[in-house]
Amino acid sequence: MSDLRDTIKQLNSARELALKDPALYPQIVSGVQAVIGPERPVELRRWGADFLAESFASPVVSAEEKQRMCLGMLDLLKSYLNRKEERGEEEDWNVVKSAVQCAASVYPLVFRHTISNADDKETWAKMASMKSSILRRMDTAPGSMRICCIKFVARVVQVQTPGLIADPRRPEQNETSLALVPRDHAIIPPSNLEAEASGLLDRLLGVLQDNIPDALIITATLNALSPLVAKRASISPKILSTVLSYNPLTLANAKMEGKDKIAIKSMTRTTMSFLNNVLKRTQHPALGPRIHQQVERLRHSLTEVFSDQNPLKRPAPDEPTDGLSDDKRQKLDRDAEAGTTPLQQQYPPLPPGPVSLAQLFTLTNDRAAAGFHVEAIPQHFVAQLVPPLLASIDPTQLDAAINVVRARYLEIQRQPPPTVVQTSGEEEDDDYDPMTGFGDAEQAANQIDQLPPLQGQPELAIASFHLPPPPPLTEHERAEYSETAKERLFGALQRLDDEARRQGKKQGVEREKGFNRLAATGGEDRDGWIALLTRLVTRPTFDVNQENDNIKQEGDERSLTKKGQGTIDLPKILREAFHRYIMDDWRRRIDVAIAWLNEEWYADRLLSKQREDEELSLPNYTHLTLSLLDSLIPYLDISDTRHLIRFLSEIPHLPTEIFSRIEKLALDPERVQLCTQTLLYLIMLRPPVREGAVDCAERIWRGNADARASVGGKILSKWRPDVLVEAEEGKLLGEGVKEEG
């Protein structure tokens, strides 16, 4: 065994030498001939056959070289192929397979040799013997070997069919084919060989015509035929028409298993490749469209067969044979339940207790049918439906139904009529079904209408229900709730203020402002909320339960302090909160103050009207205005003229007490100018208070020496010059006194 291994090792290194330097091939091939002879062990013969096949196929060895080499090898090859005849024992098929491959490579070489050496009968005889040996066994050989035989045959056909002669002057350049053989060749008469080739071709094509399911043989044949189509124009139409009529998909059926599927797919794809290759390489004006068509058809069928893993045919619908499928069974059950089958025509009894008209006439247990509201059908349809329906009804059945209803009705009449309460109680009973109860309330009412008048029934009266009064609020609780209410109101305002500040001036929506706006829209923006707040603050003074005279009595402090409710006064709290709110940022909130005071004034006016006062009294307004002004005055700056003027000009009414405040303000020499301008404004643009303002100016002039120049020059000189004149006189007098004194 180790001997054998060493030998193979040596053979391998020899082969490597040849692979590295192809020029060594002849030397090595003849050198190993003795080692791989028929008497040697099977391993060496295998190696030898493989090596020979490889050597004669090698593209790096020239054809002439191979042709010279092959002559010495024919005996060896023949011994491999004909071992049984020569030695009486069967050859290893691996050896034979390689030998057949080798023979396919050698055949053209020997053929060519024979062409040029017409007297070398012996060589051709050896080749012919091998050929007949291969052909004889081709059809019975196992697949592995058969494909090699097929290839050999294809090669023989290629050689024994006339090919193109590219250059007649240089025969060594031409491809080996029958065209090179002289017509009168002694050993290889061309006509015989061509006939043989034709027969062999038929044998090859038979594989396709028989449509055998062996993918190995089919693909091997197709791939072996391809060079014939390309290089042998004389036989290519025959091959092509055979391939075109070959359709491996006819083997496809619903019960394909994995192996068959792959085999059929592979055969089809190989056929398509074959045809595409032909289409690409050669121009067949006649067959071109047909080839194209066939490729497309194969592609379509292939996707159809293998697209969805489904069998070719849709399976029969899964239907029970006894006609008792679940659907039908359910239907029968439903019939039985509803009692609509004629055999079991039993009308259900009426439910216990009071019944509706619908229940009275319901003769089926089928809830869906009983719950169907016939008004859902348009009237004209009903008109069309009823006559044929009536005509088709079995009269006996109709009579029976009528009798049942009649019996039911009589039965009901005998029962005492139900009460309203009972009826409504039954409606909501355990068996309530929204489907059947459709329209029951109305029908119950109808039924009651038809019943005889109620007699002897106990009168049903619904006693009025009173919630127990809540425990009275304690003082502390009231204060707490008032505070909470205030905080919530002003908390919202604070939030809206913040929002308004954030949004700045870009408030897109122009809203109705001032008195005209609806307080009810409040809450969405600051203005709205202020409107709401001002009205909330001012209006509670109208207590609905309050008597007019009460108001009279209470005067300024009238609102909630009455009835001994203690010191908690929500409007007062709210007003204080408002006051604080304005004072927090009075320059900016002066508009709020004005709006608020306007509301106060209006409320007071309304109240005054309500009380039918002889003269207008504005208790709240006056008090609040003055207190607000008192709070403002300490903060008024010389630059705040604008704010003071605005405040005083826009509040609806100026109580006379205001001027005393202005007088006091003028005591501050810095703010004299402020007072002067304010007074001037009031004098000029608010005629109702002009008199008071001028009086005020005069008082200032008289009492305040520092303010004299300003007030006198701007106001009194125009509006009360007589004072100035008087003063001038007095002054002169005074001076005179001084001088005198």
Partner: protein
């Protein structure tokens, strides 16, 4: 989420500890009922150490993985196949016209040419461009992995099938611009080099139907001069890092099963019954090639989310 889900978490483990081949073997045995034949002994599964000859009696299929740019899916599979306990001879290719890697936006991909750009140069270029971006989208980790697997991306259509892959790469032999940094780029530095010297594989696995079509079309156009059968599989894998990882695992599993089937077929022959060319009963002992559809179907049942295709082609 702490990390980008598309991001490759870490360089893949050099050798997954689970031996999927054993699992695959058990299914094969149970299905075929041929439990009397041990598939392969553990000794045979030892990956050959570098510089040591592989066990001549062990049989290994040669694989080729193919995707669009020979960067993500095919390279993940390449790595998986070559770092498994039973490492396979593997090469890999891309079928696209150019190597396209995601760039800062979908309309600005990073484009490189096949065959003469190394993963190393791409890596250093993208590292210089925007390390944060390319690390975040997983490109740099991917290239880092790739440059440890082989020198650079190769284009399927430019592959000279059957030309020995020995010595230096063609691009560097030509003495092109890459010669300075690619002078040392030899085929034998690629992972899974042992066994691919002859430039031929037994199994091609593409990662996208487009690539499968391209491979088939290319093989048909080449005219199959080598007369050698090759199984071309497609395993549909979405082109992202996560799917590539899953796909790599699935491909390794498929490879293990295919290899087990091939080894079994070979052993049955070599071991006893001379079921050969003249055997009348073909179905009694199936060769490797006939077993392929079954193996694939079984695999597909376990990986239904990776739709497979297959065809027997000729080199």
């Amino acid at each position: 989420m702490a990390s980008d889900p598309r991001r490759r978490p870490a360089p893949p483990p050099p050798a997954p500890p689970t031996p999927p081949a054993a699992v695959a073997d058990s299914t094969i045995m149970s299905l075929d009922g041929t439990t009397d034949t041990p598939p392969r002994t553990n000794g045979q599964q030892q990956p050959p150490k570098p510089g040591e000859e592989p066990d001549p009696t062990s049989y290994k299929l040669k694989f080729c993985t193919v995707c669009a740019s020979n960067n993500n899916r095919s390279m993940e599979a390449h790595l998986r196949l070559t770092t498994a306990t039973n490492a396979y001879p593997t090469i890999s290719f891309g079928t696209g016209s150019l190597v396209r890697l995601p760039g800062p936006s979908i309309s600005q991909p990073n484009v490189y040419t096949f065959n003469n750009t190394s993963y190393e140069s791409m890596y250093s270029e993208l590292l210089a461009k925007d390390e944060r971006l390319y690390r975040a989208n997983g490109i740099l980790p991917m290239l880092e992995r790739n440059k440890n697997v082989k020198w650079g991306p190769e284009r399927w259509q430019d592959w000279h099938i059957g030309v020995p892959r020995t010595g230096k790469r063609i691009a560097t032999q030509d003495g092109t611009a890459e010669s300075s940094n690619g002078a040392e780029a030899e085929y034998k530095n690629d992972k899974g080099y042992l066994g691919t010297e002859s430039g031929i594989v037994d199994i091609v696995i593409t990662c996208e139907e487009r690539c499968w079509d391209a491979v088939l079309d290319d093989l048909l156009s080449r005219g199959s001069p080598l007369n050698r059968p090759v199984h071309v599989f497609n395993v549909d894998i979405k082109d992202n890092h996560e799917e590539a990882l899953i796909g790599g695992k699935a491909i390794l599993e498929l490879a293990d099963e295919l290899n087990a089937a091939a080894g079994q077929a070979r052993q049955e022959e070599g071991g006893g019954g001379m079921n050969g060319f003249d055997a009348g009963d073909a179905s009694a002992r199936a060769g490797f090639d006939e077993r392929v559809p079954e193996v694939l179907a079984r695999w597909q049942e376990r990986w239904p989310q990776l739709p497979a295709l297959w065809s027997l082609c000729w080199f």
